[in-house]
Amino acid sequence: MNRKGKIDQRPGRALLTGTALCGFMLLSGSVALAQTLEVEIQIREHLFYPSEVRIPSNTKVKLVIRNLDATPEEFESYELNREKVIVGNSQGIVFIGPLEPGEYPFFGEFNPRTAQGKVIVE
């Protein structure tokens, strides 16, 4: 409705405003997505690749853990307080941070002797 209380007869304008609004929301959404740093870790033959993950301090990071083995693995870390089972040939998401600079070891609970790595926060 316009100021005179009549229904606005110009649908084009409303459409334009709507499109602009949607566009803005999409844009701000993608900006928010782009802000979350994504790091991929692979599990092959019960080992983590890379076994050292470097991330900036005070930043939220999305770890995408891809298990390329047929066996399940549990990504676990006491220091990061993270624990996630990733079944064979699948992937899992684990958010970490924001963290203080330092080293945060993680391991595969099902193969704790071999599957070891650490997140290095710089």
């Binding site: 066996t71 990733i86 958010f95």
Partner: protein, 265 residues
């Protein structure tokens, strides 16, 4: 084999201690252990289904299904333990005013089965993949049996220890254990919620890992019993304390409700 012992013991410990506490507490409230088979059957079924559908569960909720289910199970058990404290306090104050058997046993069955589902699924996945599929049945199964054996012995020790107390003391001690166990479960739920980016990541308030490391034996035991966390954040600490207050509040409420009942007579 050693890793099988450790994995199974770690998973089993927390659940076994809670179930044995509930067994002692329910007995002190005058209920026989006939609820236990139902809890075990439901728990095994829950663990099996959770493990079999884990891939689909993980993919649900944009890849955060595992965290959401785990956190929900943990919080549900924490709430049931608070209900347990209410029921136990009521019974300890005035046995005639005790809740119906269905309520007490329902809490015991539901809490035990939910706890077993979460922990059992991991054991099943491990034993199936590294024992059955990898053809290492003997070493994995014997390791798992030793781990489960140690956990069950500790649980048995706890059950008979609690049962040796006068029934009222047994209920108070059980309620105390339920209070800290529940807070520990809430603490664990915060890890999953943080992992799923539902709870915000924050700077830790302190770091006591040089005092007691979470990966040490003491740390593991403290974590299973109290939800020990070496680097808690403000949100985690507040939820932990809120859970303890809720458990104590439920006990105070039970006491008041019994007193008003006595007064009316």
């Amino acid at each position: 084999m050693i890793s099988a012992v450790i994995i199974v013991l770690r998973e089993v410990l927390e659940g076994v201690l809670m179930i044995c506490m509930l067994m002692a507490s329910a007995s002190a409230m005058g209920h026989r252990l006939r609820w236990l088979p139902a809890a075990l059957v439901l728990g095994f079924f829950g663990a099996f289904s959770y493990a079999v559908f884990l891939e689909q569960i993980s993919m649900a909720f944009d890849g955060l299904g595992q965290e959401i289910i785990s956190a929900s199970l943990l919080l549900a058990v924490a709430v049931l333990l608070i209900v347990h404290n209410f029921l136990a306090t009521r019974h300890a104050n005035l046995p005639e005013a005790s809740a119906p058997a269905l309520a007490v046993l329902g809490v015991c069955v539901a809490a035990s089965a939910m706890s077993m589902s979460r922990e059992g699924a991991e054991i099943y996945l491990y034993v199936y993949a590294f024992g059955v599929q990898a053809g290492e049945m003997a070493s994995v199964l014997s390791g798992a049996a030793i781990g489960a054996g140690i956990g069950l012995s500790l649980g048995t020790f706890m059950y008979y220890g609690l049962r040796a107390l006068p029934w009222r003391t047994c209920l108070w001690v059980s309620a105390g254990i339920a209070t800290v166990t529940g807070a520990g479960l809430v603490m664990q739920a915060t890890y999953y919620l943080g992992q799923a980016d539902i709870l915000p990541g924050q700077a830790a308030l302190w770091d006591s890992s040089s005092l007691v490391a979470e990966s040490s034996l003491t740390g593991e035991l403290l974590q299973a019993a109290l939800g020990y966390e070496a680097t808690p954040t403000a949100v985690q600490l507040s939820l932990y304390l809120a859970s303890i207050l809720a458990a104590l509040g439920a006990m105070a409420l039970a006491r008041v409700s019994v007193k008003t009942r006595e007064y009316r007579k």
